[in-house]
Amino acid sequence: MIWENILIYFVVIPVLTLAGLAICKNIKQVRAVSIVGASALMVLGVYVLIEFLQLRAAGNVEEMLFRGDWSWFEPLNIKLSLGVDGISVAMLLLSCVIVFAGVFASWNMDPLPREYFMWFWLLSTGVFGFFIAIDLFAMFMFYEVALIPMYLLIGVWGSGNKNYSAMKLTLMLMGASALLMLGIIGIYFHSAADGNLTMNILEIAKNNAIPNNWQYFLFPMTFVGFGVLGAMFPFHTWSPDGHASAPTAVSMLHAGVLMKLGGYGCFRIAIYLMPHAANELAWIFLILTGISVVYGAFSACVQTDLKYINAYSSVSHCGMVLFAILMLNTTAMTGAIMQMLSHGLMTALFFALIGMIYGRTHTRDIRKMGGLMQIMPFLGVGYVIAGLANLGLPGFSGFVAEMTIFVGSFAHADMFHRVLTIMACSAIVITAVYILRVVGKMLYGPVYDDHHRTLTDAVWHEKFAVITLIVCVAGLGCFPNFFNEIIYDSFAPIIKALGAF
């Protein structure tokens, strides 16, 4: 039975929460149900991690653990296949944390808290489903489930130019998923030489039957398809507008988890299944993602809206993820996953803080703020910590991820990769520029607006969300080897596939 597989509960819990929310009567019940759901997920996430580690320690070397297949659409041999490796486990944990913190960050959501949380949980369902599935169809389905709630979350609860942003975001991401759908169907039809077509990633990889010329066609489709969600230049423009308009927790969830779907899909589908094209075409996308990295950082330098700054910063950091993935070696790819975790946590932290600050000052224009550190020290310190983590301070996750990426990227012996790597390295300087600019203008200095003097510092649920995230960021930064080892080993099959060419 499907219920015997632990992974399915990553989807069941959000769905049950969704159902629970449907019968809620007031905001207290809504919060209670959400917290119960989020905590259950958290517990499940940790449990799966422990179980995973124990299985691995017991010498289980299968590529995916907790495997299970249930026939779904038989005529096309579509199954609901579940399974996780170290990477998925890491991503699941990340999602658990962000969802958990997100619930607290949207504590006082107004209006329509119930509807808000229902969309929120629908989105979570998609995210978790995506990470546990290893069947192309199921992955794609969950992927789209995760995308569409964004429209209403931004449209209804957003601010500013929200209609435009929500529409742009949805259309661009859906446009990308159109490419993706073509790619997936294409992969499906070339998945086996003997006619036993399959959507199961493991089998496709094992069959290794996609002809080279088809790989050249399908690889860009899938890579761009996922790359748009990973904010790859020049398809990143949904990100600044979308983030700027989205409510706090939505930005958190979006930058924290949803954008990770892009990077995860890129290597799990595009690179893993089409290693030949990945080897041959990587350079094109390396250039694009390299541009993303630097371009996002430079663009962030002159923005005045806090959310825009972080959105462009996300472009830069997520560009780094794709950049590292395209380096096609274990170290860099491990770095990419670390960067995903790190960026997910940091950006979530950032957006949570920005939301809290915005909720008080009612402006996100850094020119109209100043000296907030004196007024709301907790949020100020949180912001500084987030900023320092973002610019890659050792002891926080960003440093670990970036260093792993750079060391991995530099393992290529040719000039092209080297130059790109150094270019990407330079982004860390620019990151420092824009982070310190914001911190300096907004938090330090004299108080700009005397009305701000009456503002209050964070309340308990805000503090809780912020501290949870900071602890995670610092934990990952201080003890990186724990996750590093889990992730590192999981790349063996992918690297093997890449090396086969």
Binding site: F73, M141, I148, G155, N163, M167, L171, M181, I185
Partner: protein, 487 residues
């Protein structure tokens, strides 16, 4: 004559029985109970529909091979029945409105007759049978479109429909005459044999005429121009009917004609025609839809572009395509009828059909807007709603032949889904995001039981038809067992 052969057309017989019951009720029951006619029709048809699903069918041909029952025809008819049932339930409220009292019976009888015609169109294996079915389906429709006697638009729509429909059937029959000249027979199987390897211009012209004729029913661009006007003018239940049942049957008939009759000249004759038609239909349908502000017109153009997607099932010309097509039709029936259900409910209550009237609907009528949103998402192909699955499968089936041109075609179709998503989201936006206009949002109201029932059926269908996989598997099985269709 062997009367037992009629047993090979059980669905037609069943429908006829329902029709007769309704007719007898209408004619002989006292005036007092006439109010119950719509409910009676629904119950009778509902029983028929349910019986339909559990009946064991024998495959076989009758009328000397002019009429064939296969698993596929049974399946598509069952799907149409479901749609029909929903339309019937939706129309109860409308049919009980004041000025309908005298003609209530007519409405249902005409409706059932058109369905009867469509059955024949679907099962026909001879062009004479096909034409009779086609006309039986379309002539009563004109009467139905013109049903709202006091509304000018209704008549304008009927006139537009009728003139263009006759024109189109003239062209269609002209094409048929050329086909006849080429093959000497109007049996599908005979024609298929005799046109094999044929390359004459005559065949191409004949095909162009035939495709235009059927494309008209399916409202493919550029034969679609009647669609919007007629949808707008017709009474809402009729529009719903027109947009799903009529389209579904035409799609199936179209596939039969192209695959069974002209399957042998696929790559030389109609492949490119279909490419062009699909691209035009999807793209122009979408582009037209962007600017529509009248909900019914809007859905008309949306259904135009949906027809383009349905065509993708045809182009692969295999069992997978047929199965996916039927599945698509099923999902489309449910989604579109959900949308029309909401539109009809609001129109019955307030007479408002503009998109701007829907502003802020969520705050006043959350369940209606919820149903509408699901319908829109399903039409746009958003998971976990059924539309996603049907789109995915129809694309998969289109690509199953593996030709590169088809990849390009599917890519165009996929990019078009972005445009379609845009305008579907406009509706969602109106309901959920926009602030109500000066006169305020539509006041909260309780829709009739029948309307709610229909909506619940549709919503459940939208949610379940996708995830529950046995429906798709069953349809594919049906399509595969009708393998004689594919040369």
């Amino acid at each position: 004559m062997d009367y037992s052969q009629f047993l090979n057309m059980p669905q037609e017989i069943g429908l006829l029985v329902v029709f007769l019951l309704v007719f007898l009720y209408d004619t002989f029951m006292s005036k007092k109970v006439q109010n119950a006619l719509p409910v009676f029709t629904c119950v009778a048809f509902g029983l028929f529909t349910i019986a339909n699903l559990f009946f064991a069918y024998e495959e076989g041909t009758i009328f000397g091979g002019m009429f064939e029952t296969t698993q596929a025809t049974v399946a598509i008819k069952a799907i149409l029945n479901i749609g029909m049932l929903i339309v019937l339930i939706q129309s109860i409220k409308w049919a009980n409105s004041e000025y309908m009292t005298v003609r209530r019976g007519e409405f249902y009888e005409l409706l059932l007759i058109t369905l009867f015609g469509m059955y024949f169109m679907i099962s026909a294996r001879h062009f004479l049978m096909f034409v009779i079915g086609l006309e039986t389906a379309s002539l009563p429709l004109a009467a139905l479109i013109a049903f709202e006697k006091n509304r000018y638009e209704s008549h304008e729509a009927a006139a537009k429909y009728m003139f263009t429909a006759i024109f189109s059937s003239a062209v269609f029959m002209m094409g048929l005459s050329f086909v006849y000249a080429l093959s000497g027979s109007l049996y599908f199987s005979d024609i298929a044999l005799s046109v094999m390897g044929e390359k004459s211009t005559m065949l191409i012209v004949a095909l162009a005429f035939v495709i235009a004729g059927v494309g008209f029913k399916l409202s493919l661009v550029p034969f679609h121009l009647w669609t919007a006007d007629v949808y707008q003018g017709a009474p809402t239940p009729v529009t719903g009917y027109l947009s799903v049942i009529s389209k579904g049957s035409a799609a199936f008939g179209f596939m039969v004609i192209l695959v069974q009759v002209f399957g042998s000249v696929y790559d030389m004759a109609w492949e490119w025609m279909l490419y062009a038609l699909i691209v035009l239909t999807i793209t122009l349908g979408n582009l037209f839809a962007i600017r529509q502000r009248n909900m019914k017109r809007f859905l008309a153009f949306s259904s135009v572009s949906q027809a383009g997607y349905i065509m993708l099932g045809i182009i692969s010309a295999n069992a997978l395509g047929l199965g996916s097509l039927m599945y698509y039709v099923l999902v489309y029936v449910l989604s579109n009828l959900a949308a029309f259900g909401v539109i009809g409910a609001i129109e019955n209550k307030t007479g408002k059909v503009m998109m701007a009237d829907y502003n802020g609907l969520r705050s006043t009528n959350p369940w209606l807007s919820f149903a509408m949103m699901l319908a829109m998402f399903s039409l746009a192909g958003i998971p976990p709603f059924a539309g996603f699955f049907s789109k995915f499968f129809i694309f998969t089936s289109a690509l199953s032949t593996g030709s590169v041109a088809l990849y390009v075609l599917v890519l165009i179709a996929l990019l078009n889904t972005i445009i379609s998503l845009y305008y579907y989201l406009l509706v969602v936006k109106a309901m959920f995001i926009n602030k109500p206009g000066e006169e305020g949002a539509i006041a909260p109201f309780k829709s009739a039981c029948s309307e709610r029932l229909a909506m619940i059926v549709c919503v459940l269908g939208i949610i379940l038809v996708g995830i529950v996989s046995c429906i798709y598997s069953g349809l594919i099985e049906a399509a595969e067992s009708s393998v004689t269709m594919f040369m």
